[in-house]
Amino acid sequence: MTWSATARGAHQPDNTAFTQQRLPAWQPLLSASIALPLFFCAGLAFIGLGLGLFYSSYGIKELEYDYTGNPGTGNCSACALADQDRAPPLRCSCAWYFSLPELFPGPVYLYYELTNFYQNNRRYSVSRDDTQLSGLPSALLHPANECAPYQRRASGLPIAPCGAIANSLFNDSFSLWHQRQPGGPYVEVPLDRTGIAWWTDCHVKFRNPPLVNGSLALAFQGTAPPPNWPRPVYELSPDPNNTGFINQDFVVWMRTAALPTFRKLYARIRQGNYSTGLPRGTYLVNITYNYPVRAFGGHKLIVFSNISWMGGKNPFLGIAYLVVGSLCILMGFVMLVVYIRYQDQNDEDEDAE
């Protein structure tokens, strides 16, 4: 009401720093004496950082081989050709020979790389059931709708693991053989296929359903494998700690890649004589060729790489820091010139005022 609101009183506002907007404040004045050193320091720091990054990246060795089998690229083309009209993948093997003139320092990681493979496609990347993968028995038999059309088989059996991601599991396999001397025997290099997935993934996120009578196969009874799979999920590996949903290949695959060109860790080489790296000599990678990618223009690569403190080989960051650092210094010089050139003028202006 208008007439009751006009009660008289001490209307004087409080005189506090807050209400009077006099809170202590800092207004940085970027004068030349601050801005120029700042630019030069930042520039130098970036250049230093950039150099460090660049040399780290430079020191990382990487060895990759495209085994897609495009015509005329090696002995995998036969498999690729066969792959084109035969729907169920033919058991085809091919090999890649390479020689190392010197030690490939360890630890060495073996990756496979796919290109043009859109694992981040939305319809693909949502096509999974995390509840099922966490081993919940009820979810095992009732996959989520997101998995459709890989939710149930035509027979009505629920698919385990359901969804398009699981269905498209990468199923090429590699074995590495080492020939110390030319003409010598090929010795198989042990590939460590465990410890390639995130610890949380295979211990928390992915769990097998509780065993029935101590058998994983019984636990998966009443489910069917995904249509593309030649064998059920509990037979992914003979190692009972690496089979079923917690099979590390599977877990690695299920962690969808961010970009259409991606690598996935296949194995680590760290056992026996190879803990320090791959010694010089000739090597043979035996590839079991199953995975069809040529239809959609994809490529399959096999990559050996070691890592440094900054991760895998990537010269970009170092170069970026170098460029920005140099730009900073360049700008600093430009401003310095401007400052010196116009300083007198400013002084005159101030004098005039």
Partner: protein
């Protein structure tokens, strides 16, 4: 009861009220007493309390009761109603739609429940705010509804206490002095013997003077006839015995409307007689009863149908310019969103077509196994994209802006430098949502009186019969006040925390000067404090600051007045007392009498009901019928008038001995009545509730007691309450000459002079002031000569034309002519000094003339149709052939700091136009005084008599302005005298000086210039001028000018004013500022901001306006930036995921991005950041121009901002992209760092924004480029 008999019989429910009103076929409302059995009920003997109560309600059930309900919701209706209202906001509908889209499986992007969370949160916050507001409204309603008042109860046959909300239409309410009126009440009875009642309407319109209300005319006689048939109508009985139970009349009146100044109706008595009802009979809700012991009335309108509530239109909602622009940009964002979605939809369609047939492993068919057609996929993708990219439309923007504005309002409100100590008032923000408009004002339209000036009228000088009295001592006294003022002002900052260097030297000198007048300023500060206290106690002390009250008389004039007084005291019992005076002295005497009585000033003393001391004439005045007149002016009356003078003489000794009330005993009949009255039992008098006047007639009152009373009387200071402050100023001036107004009743005025004692003038008529006549008159019977005199007071332009034409033949006529020309000269002089001038004139009417005029006048008064028009004509007939007495010059002092403020605002690039109703000369002089006009400028004056002339004049001026020839006064004036063209060139104009121009235009020319075909020219001319002064403009013209500038120039306008005449202008302008000063609250009620003084405008605009604007503009831009940048990240990702609308950022981040992850920092900067400190803003007002030019936020800056956002998102996306290219990273391991980088970049950007403002001011040499520091900053995060 509306006139709708069928409906009246219905047992209506409360809910029916509204429907009935809508039906509203009847144009009138009929009100009956609730105490009578309602027409529908046959058996009135249903005696039970309950039944009676029901019946009581039954009588008026369908009319609004007095319960106040301003709440919007009830507990039940809150949720649906509030939601419904919130969905009026398009943004809310949009967000709900998006959230609901998530429930469609084919297109959903997020978990449906999660997607709803933000919009539900926003809705809940708003709902909570509404609920809280509604609750506080409910509380205040409750408080008001439970105020108590006395209502007549049928059961108990007496007045009982009831709550306000229980009052119904038709109830009888008894109100006592200083009570607030609970509803619109028709005054039926008053303790005042004349049936008068005074009310103060300050709560309604802020006017602090008392208004007079009257018991329904003719009702009093009728009732007393009814009650005591045969008893000679005596007021005492009537009042004491007014019995609501006996009230059987029916009242017919208008339907409820919001016109405060109008009320029409009639009362139909049982005997078929009708009595007209006017606004003088209506007591309005919200007003306060003053000076009257008790009144009784019947409720006519209650609750929401009262005029006060119908006038209360609630808070104003204006949309600020910034907000309009922002809405436009939000639409751009929507467009951008649609474009982005369309782009990726097409992309997805192509992608699907490319990979589908190839049996790609990552292609997912439809759930039934069939393959998805590219078009369907594109459509799905489009919808999903809209959901994913919804972040682009900032859901929290509106809420954030509201919050920031509320905080800004809080800070403006809290600023101690906008606090006025004298009135204990601070700046009020009445509109919460246009704070940033304050920073963009381009044109200020100001009222003059009360806005630039104080509206404290001070009597400065006068001229009487051609002789000027300069009142030098008075001028000196005023100068001293001014010094005291400045002294105090300088003391204030010194006491504050801010160190004030530089002013020490001047301080010293002021100190010295101050010491020499220490006594004076002591008194000043004392009285200031006193005035403050008084104003805190009650508001009816408006026009009585000490400055106006203490007037030092001019010694020469004072001597003359004393001489008159002495002479008249000696000759008063002679036949023609005035004839013994010289013409000059008699003019002086008349002049002061006119000053004293020619007004509507009410005399009061604080906190006491008025002591009524009346001298009775046998006929109540004003004269009502011609018979009255004849009776009154019969020869016998004339002789008795003589005898009254005789008795006057005899009573003089008694008067001197101290009888303050008994001055004239006009005739025997009065004496007889007195005796009769004294004979009444004392109880009867006491029961009247006012024993005041009568009691002092009691014989036991000894002379000693009377003496005591006199002393008290003298101690008790008389206070004059006037409708306009100049009236009070004149009365105070007259009092300084010992010619004091001591009492005013509606039919008599008493003036006290030192020797003559108390003179009581019979007040025959008062012809009130109106703005067309520009004058007012009183018709009185002079107690000394018994002549009928007309005293007229008015604007010189009109009064000088109404003077009696004087022949130049005789000496007397020539003398008169000389006096007039001298007076005219002095008037011009006063105007040059910037004083408000008033002419005082007199006319002596013969009995015949009066009788003749009276007849017409009475006809006019009794006319029902065009009463106002006829009364106007009648007044014009009377006010002719006047005899000029003199003229007064009243100063309306400039408010403190007005010239400085205007200079500052000018520097800030604001165009200041003054629109005033004052005359040209006064306005120009005030304009010079407040530095609005400068003596170096050329002033173009537009005074045109006709449309064509105005057009020609405008063309000429335009031509002149364009060609920039130096002003050539003589030839132009010569060529255009016929059309009234007078380009004024100030003498100091030199061709070398700055060619700035000013335009002065008067009301009439303004009317022509505002015509359709001339307005463009006028505006063009006005744009060329540094300042524009519109004189004699009406309120409508004021608003038209504002509207014109606003619509044609697309400029931001601010109107500032203090009075009711500025309301329309204030409402039309983008920002309306009211001055909570002298002239009431109407301007304040209409305004968006209310300041106590004009000078506060400087800080309000230059500091707070600038801050608010730059803060909000930057915040809004930042919102757009932030969201665009974030959405940009998602959009770039689409190129790498087949435009499939997948996101690398987790849905939680996406959904709560606006609400949780990026809402607080910019709120803090939006509220607290200062781009430039206040001191710099005040010393460099030019900085204000950045707001005017919308430099912070204009379409270009918006797009630049968006481009910046796009660039930053590119950087933030592609650096991680390249850094993680060809690696084994997964979507979220890669997306989360991107999110983190983006959030860091937001913070950094905000930090840089805060700094760049300083840079924009140009405070640092070699302003470094903004990209420099941001870029490395970004990399740093990686």
């Amino acid at each position: 009861m509306e006139r709708d008999p069928a409906a009246a019989e219905e047992p209506g429910s409360p809910g029916r009220r509204r429907r009935r009103r809508r039906r509203g076929d009847g144009r009138t409302r009929v009100v009956r007493s609730n105490l009578l059995p309602p027409p529908g009920v046959e058996d009135p003997a249903a005696g039970a309390t309950k039944g009676a109560r029901r019946r009581r309600r039954g009588g008026a059930q369908h009319l609004a009761d007095n319960r106040l309900k301003t709440t919007k919701y009830t507990l039940l209706s809150f949720l649906p109603k509030n939601l419904f209202e919130q969905f009026h906001r398009l943004a809310n509908v949009y967000f709900v739609f998006i959230a609901l889209l998530n429930f469609v499986p084919a297109v959903n992007a997020f978990q449906p429940g999660l997607a709803l969370a933000p919009v539900l949160f926003i809705l809940a916050v708003t709902a909570f705010k509404d609920l809280w507001e509604d609750y506080s409204r409910h509380r205040s309603d409750h408080e008001i509804n439970h105020l108590g008042c006395l209502v007549f109860s049928r059961e108990e046959k007496q007045y009982v206490n009831r709550f306000w909300k229980e009052i119904r239409v038709g109830d009888f309410v008894r109100l006592r002095c200083n009570e607030i009126i609970p509803a619109d009440i028709l005054l039926l009875s008053s303790s005042d013997p004349d049936g008068l009642c005074h009310i103060e309407t300050a709560n309604l319109d802020g006017e602090t003077n008392l208004k007079r209300r009257q018991v329904v005319r003719g009702f009093s006689e009728l009732v007393s006839d009814l009650i005591l048939p045969g008893y000679p109508g005596h007021h005492v009985h009537k009042v004491s015995e007014f019995n609501p139970l006996m009230f059987t009349s029916v009242i017919e009146c208008e339907k409820p409307n919001n016109d405060l100044t109008r009320f029409r109706g009639c009362m139909i008595h049982d005997n078929g007689k009708k009595a007209g009802l006017y606004k003088e009979n209506l007591l309005l809700r919200g007003c306060t009863i003053r000076n009257t012991e008790a009144v009784v009335g019947i409720v006519i309108y209650a609750g929401h149908e009262t005029k006060a509530l119908l006038n209360n239109s609630g808070p104003r909602y204006k949309r600020s310019q910034l907000e309009r622009q922002m809405n436009c940009d939000v639409l751009w964002c929507v467009l951008l969103l649609i474009c982005m979605s369309l782009f990726s939809a097409v992309g997805h369609g192509l992608w699907v077509r490319r990979y589908q047939e190839k049996k790609s492993l990552f292609d997912v068919p439809e759930s039934d196994g069939s393959s998805l057609s590219p078009v369907t996929a594109a459509v799905y993708s489009f919808l999903t994209m809209i959901i994913v990219l919804q972040v682009l439309i900032p859901i929290s923007l509106y809420v954030s802006i509201e919050i920031v504005k509320v905080c800004q309002v809080y800070f403006i409100h809290q600023d101690t430098e906008l606090y006025d100590e004298e009135t204990d008032s601070q700046l009020q923000c009445r509109a919460l949502n246009i704070t940033e408009d304050l920073g963009q004002i381009q044109y200020i339209f100001s009222d003059k009186t009360g806005t630039l000036t104080e509206n404290k009228m001070v009597f400065r000088r006068c001229t009487v019969s051609g002789i000027e009295y300069s009142h030098d001592a008075n001028a000196q006294r005023l100068a001293r006040y001014q010094e005291a003022d400045s002294e105090e002002e300088e003391a204030v900052p010194r006491g504050g925390s801010l160190p004030q260097r530089g002013s020490v030297g001047s301080h010293q000198s002021v100190r010295v000067m101050h010491r020499s007048q220490s006594t004076k300023s002591h008194r000043r500060t004392g009285s200031r404090a006193e005035a403050k206290r008084a104003s805190m106690l009650s508001k009816h002390t408006a026009f009585s600051s000490p400055m106006e009250k203490d007037i030092t008389p001019d010694p020469k004039l004072f001597d003359k007045v004393s001489e008159c007084d002495r002479c008249l005291a000696i000759t008063r019992h002679q036949e023609h007392p005035l004839a013994h005076l010289s013409p000059e002295l008699s003019d002086v005497f008349d002049f002061f009498i006119a000053l004293t009585i020619c007004n509507t000033v009410v005399v009061t003393s604080p906190d006491q009901p008025r002591q009524k001391v009346r001298v009775r004439f046998e006929v109540k005045s004003p004269v009502k019928t011609i018979e009255d007149f004849l009776r009154r002016f019969s020869p016998s009356r004339l002789t008795s008038g003589c005898s009254s003078i005789g008795s006057l003489a005899t009573s003089k000794a008694a008067h001197k001995s101290g009888s303050n009330f008994l001055s004239t005993l006009p005739n025997d009949s009065t004496l007889f009545k007195l005796e009769e009255r004294l004979g009444q039992p004392a109880a009867a008098i006491a029961s009247n509730g006012y024993s005041s006047g009568a009691a002092s007639w009691a014989p036991e009152h000894t002379a000693q007691e009377q003496k005591l009373e006199l002393e008290q009387e003298q101690e008790r200071e008389l206070r004059y309450e006037a409708e306009s402050p100049d009236e009070a100023a004149l009365v105070y001036a007259a009092r300084a000459y010992n010619c004091a107004l001591v009492d005013r009743l509606h039919d008599q005025v008493s003036v006290e002079l030192p020797h003559l004692g108390r003179l009581t003038f019979e007040l025959l008529h008062t012809l009130g002031f109106d703005s067309i006549r520009k004058r007012m008159s009183v018709v009185i019977r002079h107690p000394l000569t018994d002549e009928i005199n007309v005293y007229t007071k008015g604007a010189d332009s009109v009064v000088m034309d109404l003077l009696l034409p004087c022949s130049s033949d005789d000496a007397r006529g020539r003398h008169q002519k000389k006096i007039r020309s001298k007076t005219q000269n002095y008037l011009n002089l006063y105007a040059v000094e910037g004083l408000r001038t008033l002419c005082i004139a007199k006319r002596v009417l013969s009995e015949e003339e009066y009788a003749c005029w009276l007849q017409n006048h009475l006809e006019a008064e009794s006319s029902l149709d065009n009463r106002e028009e006829l009364l106007f004509q009648s007044a014009i007939r009377l006010e002719t052939n006047l005899h000029l007495l003199g003229a007064t010059g009243i100063e309306d002092r400039l408010q403190d700091g007005v010239p400085e403020t205007i200079a500052k605002l000018r520097q800030a690039g604001l165009q200041i136009w003054v629109l005033t109703g004052d005359k040209q000369e006064t306005a120009i002089n005030i304009a010079y005084a407040c530095k609005l006009l400068d003596h170096d400028e050329e002033v173009i004056t537009l005074n045109a008599e006709s449309q064509e002339a105005c057009a020609a004049l405008l063309d000429q001026c335009l031509h002149y302005v364009q060609s920039r020839i130096p002003c050539s006064t003589p030839e132009k004036t010569a060529g255009n005298v016929s059309v009234g063209f007078s380009p004024v060139c100030p003498p100091s104009t030199s061709t070398t000086s700055g060619p700035s121009l000013s335009l002065v235009i008067d009301g009439r020319s303004l009317a022509y210039a505002l015509e359709k075909n001339l307005e463009d020219k006028f505006l063009f001319l006005a744009k060329q001028c540094r300042s524009v002064l519109c004189c004699r403009s009406t309120p409508l013209q004021k608003s038209m000018v504002v509207k014109l500038v606003r619509s044609k120039l697309k400029a931001m306008t601010l109107a500032i004013g203090d009075g009711a005449n500025d309301v329309s202008m204030i409402q039309v302008a983008d920002v309306g500022v009211g001055i909570s000063g002298q002239e009431g609250m109407q301007a304040v009620m209409a305004s968006d901001f209310a300041v106590p003084r004009f000078r506060y405008l400087e800080r309000l605009l230059i500091v707070h306006g600038h801050w608010c604007y730059s803060r909000l503009a930057n915040m809004v831009l930042y919102f757009f930036y932030k969201n665009t940048m974030f959405v940009g990240l998602l959009f770039w990702f689409q190129f790498y995921c087949g435009f499939s609308a997948s996101a690398m950022i987790d849905q939680w981040y996406l959904i709560f991005f606006n609400l949780l992850f990026s809402s607080l920092p910019q709120l803090v900067t939006g509220v607290l950041d200062k781009d430039v400190p206040a001191e710099v803003l005040l010393t460099e007002p030019q900085l204000y121009k950045s707001g005017q030019n919308m430099e912070e936020y204009r379409p270009r800056t918006f797009w630049l901002n968006m481009a910046d956002a796009a660039f930053q998102s590119l950087v933030c996306f592609f650096i991680p992209y390249l850094a993680y290219y060809d690696s084994d990273t997964d979507v979220f391991t890669w997306g989360t760092p991107i999110t983190a980088i983006a959030l860091f970049t937001f913070l950094l950007h905000l930090g840089i924004e805060t700094k760049t403002w300083v840079r924009a001011v140009g405070m640092i040499p070699g302003s470094a480029d903004a990209a420099g520091p941001t870029l490395p900053g970004r990399f740093h995060d990686i």
